[in-house]
Symmetry: D3
Subunit: 282 residues, 6 copies
Amino acid sequence: MPDYSSIKHFNVHFPAEHQYVAHVEINRADKMNAFFEAMWLELRSLFDTLSADPSVRAIVLSGAGPKAFTTGLDVKAASEGGVLSAEGDADTARKAAHLRRYIGTFQDCITALERCEKPVIAAMHGFALGLAVDMATACDVRLCARDVRFAVKEVDIGLAADIGTLSRLPKVVGNYGWVKEVALSARMFGAEEAEKVGFVSRVFGGKEELVKGALEVAGLIASKSPVAVQGTKDILNWSRDHPVNEGLRYTAVWNSAALQTNDVPAAMLSGIQKRKPTFEKL
Amino acid sequence: MPDYSSIKHFNVHFPAEHQYVAHVEINRADKMNAFFEAMWLELRSLFDTLSADPSVRAIVLSGAGPKAFTTGLDVKAASEGGVLSAEGDADTARKAAHLRRYIGTFQDCITALERCEKPVIAAMHGFALGLAVDMATACDVRLCARDVRFAVKEVDIGLAADIGTLSRLPKVVGNYGWVKEVALSARMFGAEEAEKVGFVSRVFGGKEELVKGALEVAGLIASKSPVAVQGTKDILNWSRDHPVNEGLRYTAVWNSAALQTNDVPAAMLSGIQKRKPTFEKL
Amino acid sequence: MPDYSSIKHFNVHFPAEHQYVAHVEINRADKMNAFFEAMWLELRSLFDTLSADPSVRAIVLSGAGPKAFTTGLDVKAASEGGVLSAEGDADTARKAAHLRRYIGTFQDCITALERCEKPVIAAMHGFALGLAVDMATACDVRLCARDVRFAVKEVDIGLAADIGTLSRLPKVVGNYGWVKEVALSARMFGAEEAEKVGFVSRVFGGKEELVKGALEVAGLIASKSPVAVQGTKDILNWSRDHPVNEGLRYTAVWNSAALQTNDVPAAMLSGIQKRKPTFEKL
Amino acid sequence: MPDYSSIKHFNVHFPAEHQYVAHVEINRADKMNAFFEAMWLELRSLFDTLSADPSVRAIVLSGAGPKAFTTGLDVKAASEGGVLSAEGDADTARKAAHLRRYIGTFQDCITALERCEKPVIAAMHGFALGLAVDMATACDVRLCARDVRFAVKEVDIGLAADIGTLSRLPKVVGNYGWVKEVALSARMFGAEEAEKVGFVSRVFGGKEELVKGALEVAGLIASKSPVAVQGTKDILNWSRDHPVNEGLRYTAVWNSAALQTNDVPAAMLSGIQKRKPTFEKL
Amino acid sequence: MPDYSSIKHFNVHFPAEHQYVAHVEINRADKMNAFFEAMWLELRSLFDTLSADPSVRAIVLSGAGPKAFTTGLDVKAASEGGVLSAEGDADTARKAAHLRRYIGTFQDCITALERCEKPVIAAMHGFALGLAVDMATACDVRLCARDVRFAVKEVDIGLAADIGTLSRLPKVVGNYGWVKEVALSARMFGAEEAEKVGFVSRVFGGKEELVKGALEVAGLIASKSPVAVQGTKDILNWSRDHPVNEGLRYTAVWNSAALQTNDVPAAMLSGIQKRKPTFEKL
Amino acid sequence: MPDYSSIKHFNVHFPAEHQYVAHVEINRADKMNAFFEAMWLELRSLFDTLSADPSVRAIVLSGAGPKAFTTGLDVKAASEGGVLSAEGDADTARKAAHLRRYIGTFQDCITALERCEKPVIAAMHGFALGLAVDMATACDVRLCARDVRFAVKEVDIGLAADIGTLSRLPKVVGNYGWVKEVALSARMFGAEEAEKVGFVSRVFGGKEELVKGALEVAGLIASKSPVAVQGTKDILNWSRDHPVNEGLRYTAVWNSAALQTNDVPAAMLSGIQKRKPTFEKL
């Protein structure tokens, strides 16, 4: 089992009551869990590790403290740290080259949530602004507390959201009309609207309830065949980006190996015998 | 007119009160309309025939008996019949080759609903599990009774759904978030949720009402110009899998022939004269 | 500033209370704002001009008169003017070539709404049929009055909708199921249903309220950084037609220039100082 | 083993000197092997059967008689048989619907060469016109005799080649410039030019030498691991139609099953021991 | 027939000896036919007109004077005229917005050669640098004189070629390896190399011979059915940008109208009667 | 400047006579430069570093010793090390999951050559088998010595080439016909054939000449504007995987930043003044 003790900006728990579930908490509550560069770099390395850890089958991502999932980019740190301001007197094309690399790395760190082989459930409360939405769209299931305040905040600081929201949010909810409206106006929206448009699957009363509920969803998923669950996640991500006929072919090729698992007879048998199946690690 | 009398596993009716409408009923009520291989092979040949039958302009697909549209794959038949178990001691790669062919054929049989040139309306009641969802997503319009119980059931038998649900369901409803949640948890959902997310267009009280309602929708579609209706189905399927600019071009090329139909002046004239138009067979 | 005084079929206003907002009104109220060829050609040239006009940052499109946004194509003019009837005795392939060009030009005129660099808000009341839906789907935000009556009307005149609805409507609302149902049946639907499926973002009481509300949305968008707003529109249109990874890359390349704007520090500073930022023309 | 004795328009041999090789000969020498509808329907069913026949690992396709591989479509039969002339007084749109189906079926018959899981080697001599090129581009390897005369002949009978040449030939040779020139002019080209542009891999002296050479290439391929060979064919066809990153992913998914074959250790061992490996049937 | 007399920077001839052929000559021989903005704008309007002119079926594009097809962009004019230098003190993002529009328009002007419905044959002699290659790749057939000197010259003036070469040249020749080498090094290459890699189809002795030869190729193409020729051009351009299965479908839809032409029986009959067919204008 | 001294399996030189050029040599001559896992992991980290090193503008990749560029995968190490043999008694689906990860990582290591922002020139001599071809196709320019022996060797060890050859080789040479032939037969081919099909750009006499020649090509490229060169590489890689219209748009967006470089005026001025320009680091 990998060692998670060196992780600094996140708490990593393995709740006893939910086998194979990891709970990752953004751990900078005094700053509303705002992100700076070291945090997203660590997020990537953490989820790349969880992705390959055979004792993990589902993951919950939430924010520490009572106030926020995350308020997004720590703008103050960003403006001091320099990418957006610095580069001294390099010419425009050279600054552009550095920005492409910087944005590319930042995007890749958030994409780690999507490429993680295990389903990731975002459990969001309080403020969930800007980067919060980028991260949420890279997760598989989104849940929230009644008090959540979402916003695609980027136009309010003079830029187009570039860490994933504009690419993923429309595909999560399916509705470009609504996405354009919230992305162009940068307005806040709450739990009810988020549920109505399908950005979140369920709304819980408060943060405690939310985290409990998220861990239960994760526990349910973790109790299924990991071959089936991880195949389903991968194939759905592929389908999102391909025509139906290419989705069908990819699925057939994938399942030509996956159907040779012991999990199918195990699952069928336990279905007949009405008992809980056990699946080998993956 | 083709001969449908040799069809064994489906009832094929042509209801007198709805000209140009075919009603196909899955006919294995004693087994909850569960499917085995001969049935999906026959489904393909039936819909390929209906597709080219000029006396058919819209089709309703429903399940016989009071209990189920279909409970999906007849798992018992499948586990005995052998694809999933058999192949003896062929090596993994050889088993994989057989599985690719088997899944490919199975997918193609269900895709027959989608490539059928005439709109297909799924009318679903009772249990509608696993393969039921695969089939429904390959239809054009989905209606259901109040008592319907849907589930993307596959992870519960240890596999990722591979006959179409993972490729088509997200595009039917548009919302990947909801699809991931129901596909990863395999949980049941009912008529109300199905309508809310747009998986079905309308909910009817009971099975009888449902079938009556489905036939009326089919009858309405069948009363329109078949050139217009079949073009609309084909172009919408194309659009689903292409960028907007390629959708526009394909539509222009398609309509360069279709607009030369007599149906346009016929429809316009009957619009002005407030009478029902008649269209030649197609 | 461009001269809009020669525009004949549309009113172009610049409301004093909303800086950088243009209001375009379809101006043929006596014919329910029905379109003939000269109108869509002028629509294209108007929006191509607005697109490049640095004093415009958001646009509202509405219909003059109390009865209709637009009833769509002026079928009478079309059937007399001749494309659909004429071409004399040219053979089928030659007629097809002319139809491809004609449809292509017509599509391009409506696509001018989409390629306009500034967000376009459709404000729809009364009848909004056929071409109305084609145009609305090429806009960025859709609002309507309580009395609006929508229909994808084309199958009722014997043809598949070819000016954009079949390509864009499913991507606007995300739900192919609902689109197929309304496109195959040509049935009317109202404000409530349009809001439920996400075709419109908000419903207003009457036309006056609607236009006022639309101008306010436009005003809000126009108060933001035009670099951020126009980038957001362009990137969302790109994302609609591409896989997520290609959306991310395109966004990174786009923002490698856009992030070098003065608007980012200006927006950040005014955020800290709680005052309204000023942005240079674009 | 399937029964090939009922095949009428093709000779099917299994040459003793090349294990696992099938030799298919177009068998209408008195008409220069010109095709009519029953022939392409039979070609499809023949190659769909060969595709699944475990005793076949590579296939040679050649033409009977001294004069031609095939002169393509039997224009006389086509003009009598009716698709191009008939349909009586159906309107243009209805004729178009029939033509779409007819062309679609015809294309699918030729595509059977491409979807055949085993490599197909076209061995062409004499006239190889029109449909000959459509078929050749759907094969995997192309060889010819010195006397061959190729032409993309279709524009000379008033139509754009629609059975595959315009879609596949540019991807076979890679050069759109050359393809446009030969397709727009319909001019003949011979063995030397065909080899220079890479349409054929090798040129043989006469027909006898050609067929012998083709069988040797087939024999060489048939002596390799069928898991490796069939995977290579499938993946190369996929790559042709996809970006590099999607080719890489598909390959990884494919090989996750294929690498678990016994053929890898068998091939490695026989490599070390310098003896010919034996591979199980596939 | 359109009026070409107002065209300033190009000579437009209709050579008597080749019916339906237009000959367009870049007419700025004293400046080696170097392009400035008004010229590419006029090129677009000229080819958009030729595209729809029913008396034109094939077009030759060559350069006036003995020295050059064209040396490309008139760098001096460009650096004075201002796009590359000007924009005063607009910020980087605003300059970028203007550059996107400017490049987009410039690209669209050259793309007019590609979207012209009639085949365009580039006949190149002397210097053919930079923009010359962009234009040539947007044509359908490329021919050259022995003395031609090509170069993808752009890196030598500090930029990546952005008017089409990097997008089209690899698809014209099919070989990315060669394209990368000439594009990264900006080195000259001559007629022999151009023919070897398939950039040109044929090499002629001198300019006079070249133009004569190009007109003959154009004349040959113009003698064929325009329905067949224009369909072939359009479908090959579509195929270049799509997978094979989408090429096949598009072709079937296209030909469902095109095969209903009188040109097919006319071409067949004249084939049998060994006489030259006549085709109606298109 | 990054520290390359810890690199173990490769020699990294910066030849004094070619400013901004790095020379990377595969350094395992005693084993014919065969690769084991640590080597491809190090290759990735090396090229990711070179990609961002502002003192590097072009890179040559060659093999140490007289006998081979590389004979590819060290099959002995691979079969001992275990991926292909090991996984003990995990079931097929679990082995498949490990294989997908393993192949994915391996592919990503080789893709580092392609995503390196600076052009990479492969200089190949002696044996260049299997993985050698995978690596060569991920480079930008390929050169070879007269004695080179290439083979797409994978089918001979029972597998389909999965580290890039099947995805990239056809796009490098453009000709699927030739690729299928060499990939299905696994036959050797030499310098002359490689040059004829365009797999290599130039053939040199011996290894010494080859490396000298490769460094000169690299030196030439390194003397150009790095903004222009790196843009050209990136855009050509994008074009390979996209339709022409998407290539054009991406190029316009890219150049909207890149054209604001000082390199354009610097390059133009030095062109006029006939002296060598100097470009800032990038």
